[in-house]
């Protein structure tokens, strides 16, 4: 009963056999494609560790059925940096110590990238906290996470004069 789906994963369009229709996007990424950056913390949309961008929007990969996403564009943590050049959000997470154990970190970072693209929070820390509240961090790195998101967003706005490829910048202004 294997069917093929087509996904563009981190910029590469690929045909992916799906041996089991029950496979979620998260399990496909982790167990099928061995893109293990997205983590399974709850598998029920309650922790955010599996956050990836689907067609540019942050979602919980654990609650998306892979077959239903046939044709979609997926961006995971593995596709965020350009070679050795980290994405501003990644840089900022390191600089602000926005993680400890690191398990929730790929989800936090992808959520932050999605948040910046959504351009709803502006530079209001309270709105950033609210918008990042779908990503649990049991180590308690929230202070650094919020600082990192705000700083990265600023950096991306400053760089949005064309130094970076389109789609990288937040539309926030």
């Amino acid at each position: 009963m294997s069917v093929d789906i087509v996904l563009t994963v981190n910029g590469t369009r690929r045909t992916i056999p799906l041996p089991d229709l029950r496979t979620t996007l998260l399990d496909l990424l982790r167990e099928g494609l061995h893109l293990t950056g997205a983590k399974k913390g709850c598998d029920r949309g309650q922790c955010g560790a599996c956050t990836v961008l689907v067609d540019g929007r942050r979602i919980n990969a654990c609650l998306a059925l892979a077959i239903s996403l046939d044709g979609a564009e997926i961006l995971t943590i593995e596709g965020l940096a350009e070679g050795d050049r980290l994405h501003p959000v990644q840089e900022a997470f390191i600089a602000h110590d926005g993680f400890q154990c690191g398990f929730c970190t790929p989800g936090q970072i992808m959520s932050a990238v999605g948040l910046i693209r959504e351009a709803q929070a502006g530079n209001d820390p309270e709105r950033v906290r609210e918008a990042m509240s779908g990503n649990l961090c049991r180590c308690g790195a929230y202070a650094g996470i919020t600082e990192a998101v705000l700083e990265a967003q600023q950096a991306m706005i400053q760089q949005s004069t064309g130094q970076r490829p389109a789609g990288r910048q937040g539309e926030a202004a």
Partner: protein, 745 residues
């Protein structure tokens, strides 16, 4: 095999520098591989079926249905499980906990594993486990602290006596001009590290290869060796990154052993990852407590007596007793002091160490009661704490090896603005009419020391390879321990090939008790000193060396060179010394453990946490709007990482005060909120403003590095400060944790 090769860092390197995490790039790019991220060739997936009753027997498993599901390879039950060399209930020492490894059909708690389904895909294993649809013969479970007769445990925590007394508490209470008695209750809490327990197990004959998060590699190795009847050295565990531990990964958990058994059964590599609901059972928890505190004080606010009785719970089949009274042994100068611990047996999984075990639950009760006594005395809660400041440890009478708590109080109060606090509750409001309250709590945690070994090899290139089976569960061992190695070897951190997180390295001990940096760091220091001493001997005994004749004490290692103390112009590079001696390397070995100073001093980190809460006066909803903690914990290796540890602990304090509780169905003994939607831990919006102040403290006694440990202290003090702030906002003393809004209506 190198599990990780942290890339070069970008800042300074020695002790005290705020380096960013050396594993940072791996973690922000998704390249840091946690146990469940591994896929050895031929790997199968194992999924546990767990019990839906808390007590009784499994009478039937529909193995045929599970096996008939496409992709299912095997079903492991008590009937066909691989034989074990040692019964899982056999206790060989105090750190051996009984495990549920399908030994029989008994069910002794909800979510106990009752079978394992192994399949070609995760989806098939998951549905296979559901198809087992166990039938039970259920018995009435013991649920709650009132469900059975309390007993006096033979020991609490890791072996302390259940009862302790100094002075005569009853006389002290009788002599007091003010007395309070308060009963605080804390709920069962589950660690819920973001990474569920996992294992990827591969057998090759009688050798075993494991990717498995573990806070203590050698202990896990020994436990597995005993269970499977193989040599510890035939077990290789890789655990370079843990997705949080908080105590629940200190001992190997039963489900991890089941994954190893499953791999044995099918003869192929197996990955077993627990589901989040399954985490509420077989991997430990913080037991509920009911703590009764009786305090007496004289007219001037000086305590005359402190009595702290704890009723807690353990499982029906093993003992771990939450030592809540311990904080009362050290914090306040009561001339008469008594603590007692009693326990009941419940049909739960065995409780375990959970971040600040005993201290966290004990602190919230003690800090609440102290606040109540301050109120009874009409005193400012901070002034009351200072009035009862312990100059020596009350329980033992020993001097403190160091104690900068006064500075913590002062600096925290200053940063918080405590002096503007009205004494009476209910006096502060936001412009919107929300109630505002300020509270304080004292933080404390013992400065422990365990055992560890390390290796430091100086190589012909003038660089070093430092290895220790230490653990980074988020506290920053990859960075802080490397900083210690760099400092002690006189090398830049970039010149060190630093390895941790693997059981084939020297035994790094356990990452727990907030003692890992102190213990592993001391072992590294000793290993480095040994290597430098050997190198020094090569140089100072060689006439061709500019260091000839300087003697071992006459040189120091700095910048990759040995330098004469009495003449810094005379030095020689490590590489030159080795080359001339015709040596490829010198290998230093070091060990660490508790020393005799522990007999003479009480050793604790301290802190003061100040909390501001906002409470809706009509609706009861609460938010911790500000937390300021000032902590003194000896020498700080990396202030950036330490601040993060304090923040994390303080957020655990928020969680303890306002959120966390396992809700047990009183009839079935099952946790009804075994998920992260309903078992609440704080989200980002719950902690708007945090400040952690690192108060300087030098401790010449605690260990050679002067480190006290910072991983757990932040939890203590914080929860009490928040509960006290809620009182200050509302005038309501809520003594049943967590403080949910319904308790304020």
């Amino acid at each position: 095999m190198p599990e990780t090769a942290p890339r070069p860092i970008r800042h300074g390197s020695s002790i005290g520098q705020p380096l960013t995490r050396r594993d940072g790039i791996l973690k922000v790019t998704g390249a840091a591989a946690y146990a469940a991220d591994h896929h050895p060739p031929g790997m199968l997936y194992a999924v546990m079926a767990v019990s839906r009753i808390a007590r009784g027997r499994v009478t039937h498993l529909d193995v045929a249905a599970a096996k008939s599901h496409p992709g299912v390879v095997a079903v492991m039950t008590p009937q066909n499980k691989p034989a074990l060399a040692r019964h899982p209930d056999e206790k060989t020492d105090g750190f051996t906990f009984r495990l549920d490894l399908l030994q029989d059909d008994r069910v002794r708690y909800a979510n106990q594993p009752v079978a394992v389904v192994i399949a070609e895909t995760l989806e098939a294993a998951t549905e296979g486990a559901a198809l087992l649809d166990p039938a039970y013969e259920a018995e009435t479970p013991a649920v709650g602290l009132d469900s059975s007769e309390p007993f006096t445990p033979p020991a609490i925590g890791v072996g302390d006596p259940a009862d302790m007394a100094t002075g005569d508490v009853e006389s002290g209470l009788a002599a007091a001009s003010r007395r309070i008695e308060a009963t605080y209750e804390t709920p069962a809490q589950y660690h819920n590290a973001m990474e569920p327990h996992a294992v990827v197990a591969t057998w090759d004959g009688d050798t075993l290869d494991l990717d498995m998060p573990s806070q203590g590699l050698a202990m896990a190795q020994a436990r597995i060796a005993g269970l499977f009847g193989i040599a510890p050295s035939d077990i290789h565990i890789r655990s370079p990154f843990l997705g949080g531990g908080f105590g629940s990964k200190g001992m190997i958990a039963g489900p991890q052993v089941l994954g190893i058994m499953a791999a044995r059964l099918v003869g192929r590599p197996v990955k077993l990852v627990m589901s989040r609901p399954q985490m509420f059972g077989p991997v430990g928890h913080r037991a509920p407590t009911r703590q009764n505190l009786r305090l007496g004080a004289a007219e001037d606010g000086g305590l005359t007596a402190l009595d702290h009785e704890t009723l807690t719970a353990t499982s029906t089949f093993d003992d771990f007793i939450e030592p809540s009274g311990g904080v009362s042994h050290t914090l306040y100068a009561a001339p008469a002091l008594a603590t007692r611990h009693r326990a009941v047996r419940l049909d739960t999984g065995t409780p375990l160490f959970m971040r600040a075990p005993g201290e966290a639950s004990g602190s919230v009760a003690l800090e609440g009661a102290i606040d109540e006594m301050a109120e009874a005395c009409g005193m400012d809660p901070l002034a009351f704490r200072l009035r009862n400041y312990a100059e020596t440890e009350p329980a033992s009478g020993k001097p403190f090896s160091s104690k900068a708590l006064r500075e913590c109080y002062a600096r925290g109060a200053e940063a918080f603005g405590w002096s503007k606090r009205p004494l009476a509750p209910g006096r502060m409001r936001t412009p919107d009419g929300l109630l505002v309250g300020w509270g304080v709590g004292t933080a404390t945690f013992p400065a422990l020391m365990f055992q560890a070994e390390a290796r430091a090899v100086l190589t012909a290139t003038g660089e070093a390879a430092v290895a220790i089976g230490a653990i980074d569960m988020g506290q920053g061992a990859w960075t802080a321990l490397a900083q210690i190695a760099a400092e002690e070897l006189g090398l830049s951190i970039e010149a060190i090939d630093f390895r941790i997180g693997s059981s084939d390295l020297p035994n790094g001990g356990i990452a727990g008790g907030s003692a890992h940096t102190a213990t592993a760091g001391t072992a590294i220091k000793a290993a480095a000193a040994d290597a430098i001493a050997q190198l020094t001997a090569l140089a100072t005994q060689d006439r061709r060396s500019p260091l000839y004749g300087a003697g071992n004490a006459g040189v120091i290692a700095r910048g990759g060179r040995l330098v004469r103390r009495d003449d810094e112009t005379r030095s020689e590079a490590f590489a030159e010394i080795l080359a001339r001696a015709g040596r490829d390397a010198v290998e230093g070995k070091g060990a660490a453990g508790p020393d005799a100073a522990r007999e003479h001093y009480a050793m604790h980190a301290h802190g003061a946490v100040f909390a501001e809460v906002t409470v809706d006066p009509d609706l009861g909803q609460i938010r911790t709007t500000r937390l300021v903690g000032a902590f003194a914990a000896g020498r700080i290796i990396n202030p950036r990482l330490v601040r993060s540890q304090y923040y994390g602990g303080m957020i655990w304090g928020v969680s303890f005060a306002l959120h966390e509780q396992a809700v047990m169905d009183p009839r079935t003994g099952r946790p009804m909120n075994a998920n992260l939607a309903e078992y609440h831990v704080p989200v980002n919006a719950d902690v708007p403003a945090l400040e952690a102040i690192l108060v300087e403290e030098e401790d010449p006694h605690v260990n050679p590095l002067g480190i006290k440990g910072v991983g757990e202290i932040g939890v203590t003090g914080s929860a009490g400060a928040i509960v006290n702030a809620i009182w200050h906002a509302t005038g309501r003393r809520v003594r049943t944790l967590p403080v949910t809004l319904d308790k304020l209506l």
